[in-house]
């Protein structure tokens, strides 16, 4: 029997007036990952938050300096592992901007299809884990979670037939895409999108007609427009606070300009506004994938076809900052190349890092139950926060 008297005896001191320091520790049932919030409570209301991150710091930026341009994309997908496609997108886009590598039209369309499908899958996981946070793993939230995972499995089947992997893919490479669409894939994709569109209406009825959900989501976690811009919050949080900014429309990359889609903006800035923004983004992504599938051009899928093996790619000296609209916001990759097959410096701008840094400004004044609801609506992924 291993000695269980491992941790030292920590007596809770009640002497400091009615303030209680509670530790929402790294092992946390809410499925976001390893994040430790040291909450200073006064009764039930939160007075101070000290967020401790870094439990999943996997030295991405140092490893990027030791891996070549062909090797690193497979690790790049592990920064935001819930939206692996958009993570690889940013790195590959940055390398192409420096090396002025042109990407064939068909590869750009496949990239858009993959990124938008990934956004739908990531938002499905967000909806599931958010309801599980608010409803409890052994309670009502788990039901919505399991419905969302059931839909997410449909999309993962699509990716499995396209790339062969379920969660972390190697679809992107410098110069194009590694795999072409197998035949019958577009039809399977259209059927999946049709079922998901039906199920979304069910979820909205299940959640928005439920007064308990509205009581927990509405009027909680206000992020004002000024605070959002000042802290650099991105994506659904920014659009939820009334800023009309979407990288896919403002700075179109990889032929996003060919598709027509609307950008949802909600002025309130509370959890319910972010929920509304993401529900509309579901439908916009479905529309984009349908347009891309209808107008998919023929042609090569990579401008450097000999790249199947880990060949050396040399990119000349220069620097670039590529910005991609990920499900959680702007994923940026600031790359400095020095002509050798390995980048000199790679800075990863994770959307979740800035989204999470808004919490210490938003949380004080809320109840403990709201802390979890707000963190769920911020939807941080800790591979991206700790890099």
């Amino acid at each position: 029997m291993i000695d269980t008297a491992v941790q030292s005896q920590v007596a809770i001191d009640y002497s400091a007036g009615e303030r209680l320091t509670m530790n929402m520790g790294p092992q946390h049932p809410s499925a976001h990952g390893v994040f430790r919030a040291i909450l200073t409570l006064e009764g039930e209301t939160v007075v101070g938050v000290d967020a401790v991150i870094g439990y999943l710091h996997r030295c991405h930026e140092k490893l990027a300096e030791t891996l070549t341009y062909a090797q690193y994309p497979s690790i790049a997908s592990k920064t935001d592992y819930v939206a692996a496609m958009t993570s690889e997108f940013a790195y590959v886009l940055a390398a192409e901007q420096i090396g002025v590598v042109d990407v064939p039209k068909r590869a750009q369309y496949i990239r858009v299809i993959a990124a938008e499908l990934q956004r739908i899958a990531s938002h499905l996981l967000w909806l599931g884990t958010w309801c599980m946070d608010m409803g409890g793993a052994l309670g009502g939230g788990a039901t919505v979670f399991l419905y969302c995972i059931r839909e997410r499995e449909l999309i993962l089947d699509l990716f499995e037939s396209l790339v062969g992997a379920r969660l972390l893919y190697g679809l992107f490479q410098v110069g194009g895409v590694r795999y072409d669409l197998p035949d019958g894939w577009p039809q399977q994709c259209r059927d999946t999108l049709a079922t998901i569109e039906q199920r979304l209406i069910e979820y909205e009825r299940l959640l928005e007609d439920n007064p308990f959900f509205l009581a927990r989501a509405r009027g909680v976690g206000f992020i004002t427009r000024e605070l959002a811009e000042d802290v650099g919050v991105a994506g659904p949080l920014l659009r939820g606070s009334g800023v009309n900014f979407d990288l896919r429309r403002n700075l179109p990359y990889s032929s996003y300009g060919d598709f027509t889609f609307s950008v949802p903006v909600e002025p309130e800035g509370d959890c319910f506004a972010r929920y509304r923004v993401r529900m509309v983004e579901f439908r916009q992504s479905i529309a984009i994938v349908r347009q891309a599938l209808d107008r998919l051009p023929d042609g090569p899928i990579s401008s450097r076809p000999a790249l199947k093996s880990v060949a050396q790619i040399r990119i000349q000296k220069g620097e670039a900052y590529a910005r991609v609209e990920g499900p959680r916001g702007e994923v940026g990759c600031y790359l400095i190349a020095d002509g050798s097959p390995k980048p000199y410096r790679m800075k990863w701008r994770g959307a979740s890092f800035s989204n999470l840094s808004v919490l210490p400004h938003v949380l004080p004044g809320h109840k403990v139950a709201d802390v979890v609801a707000i963190m769920g609506s911020v939807d941080p992924v800790f591979g991206e926060v700790d890099r």
Partner: protein, 326 residues
């Protein structure tokens, strides 16, 4: 046979029947929840997962019993038992058939309500004894939630008492042979609704389960309990759940009145109790948990005045009906 021996045997029999019902109710809930979530519940353990509760119980018994160093040892060890006793006592006054019951007190429902309010003591002892911040916070929440929902629970349970005019549970059941109280025009449905809501809150089931809210307080007051003590606390919680659903079936659904021969009474009673339990489970698996202050406002501002008003209207209706007849 001396009277006390008969009572002891009856009590022993009821205790065992309750234990079996409670263990298999957990399996019923897991299977029902799984079906709601498009999956198959426990399946591999015994035929269709029927041996799952036994496996869980035996495994928990064989687990290591950890007592944290910082724990207040006597309070920590005693808490599960103090929590279990009231949850088992509430079955004493429930008559499973016209004569079949441990003790048919003339103040049956009063005893039931008093004892079911006692479980909060064991719960707070568990919260305080394990000297853990999560447990303490959840014990605080438990005290104010259960106390603030005991009043609506009592008032909504008093409506059938008023309708029958007696506190004895078997009288209430007998009075419903004609018309079940739940079908009483308006008062019956409202009373049943308030009764179910307050039972939900009294046993901290979702959407009122801020007690063991996983995402905030890891596992609430039982966070430090493992093995056998944890099994006892789970047993107590489910026993209280089953006791309340039996009471709900008795008060509102006419305990053992149903088509078919006389000896089918207890079977009908069990089916009705399971229906009430499934209603609670259905609510548990489809609602999101609400915040502490919203729960309290719901109780003090909505449920309490509503049940008081309901009680007053039943009294007025009864007086009007009886005076109208004479």
């Amino acid at each position: 046979m001396p009277a006390w021996l008969v009572a002891a045997l009856a009590a022993f029999a009821v205790l065992n029947v309750v234990l079996v019902i409670v263990t298999y109710v957990t399996l019923l809930e897991r299977k029902f929840a799984a079906r709601m979530q498009t999956r198959i519940g426990p399946y591999r353990v015994g035929p269709h997962g029927l041996l799952q509760p036994i496996a869980d119980a035996v495994k928990l018994v064989m687990k290591e019993d950890i007592v944290p160093d910082a724990a207040d040892r006597p309070v920590y060890n005693l808490a599960p038992i103090v929590f279990l006793i009231p949850c088992m006592l509430i079955f004493a006054t429930i008559p499973f058939a016209p004569g079949l019951g441990v003790a048919d007190l003339n103040i049956g429902i009063l005893f039931f309500l008093a004892v079911s309010a006692m479980e909060i003591v064991g719960l707070f002892m568990a919260g305080w004894g394990s000297n853990n911040k999560y447990a303490l916070l959840s014990a605080m929440r438990a005290v104010n939630q259960i106390i603030s929902y005991d009043l609506p629970f009592i008032f909504s349970a008093l409506v059938p008492v008023l309708l029958t005019g007696s506190l004895r549970l078997s009288d209430i059941a007998a009075a419903q042979s004609g018309l079940w109280f739940v079908f009483y025009p308006v008062i019956g449905q409202l009373a049943f609704l308030f009764f179910v809501i307050s039972t939900l809150a009294a046993e901290n089931r979702v959407p009122f389960d801020i007690l063991e809210a996983e995402s905030e307080l890891v596992a609430g007051f039982r966070v430090e309990y493992s093995g056998m003590k944890f099994a006892i606390i789970q047993l107590g919680e489910y026993a209280h759940m089953v006791g309340s659903s039996f009471l709900g079936a008795l008060l509102f659904l006419g305990a053992w009145s149903g088509p078919g021969p006389e000896w089918l009474g207890p079977i009908w009673f069990l089916i009705k109790a399971m229906l009430v339990f499934l209603l609670v489970t259905w609510v548990r698996w489809s609602f999101v948990r609400i915040r502490v202050d919203q729960i309290l406002t719901l109780s003090w501002k909505l449920l309490l005045p509503a049940t008081l008003l309901l009680l007053a209207t039943t009294a007025v209706v009864i007086v009007w009906r009886t005076s109208g007849l004479t």
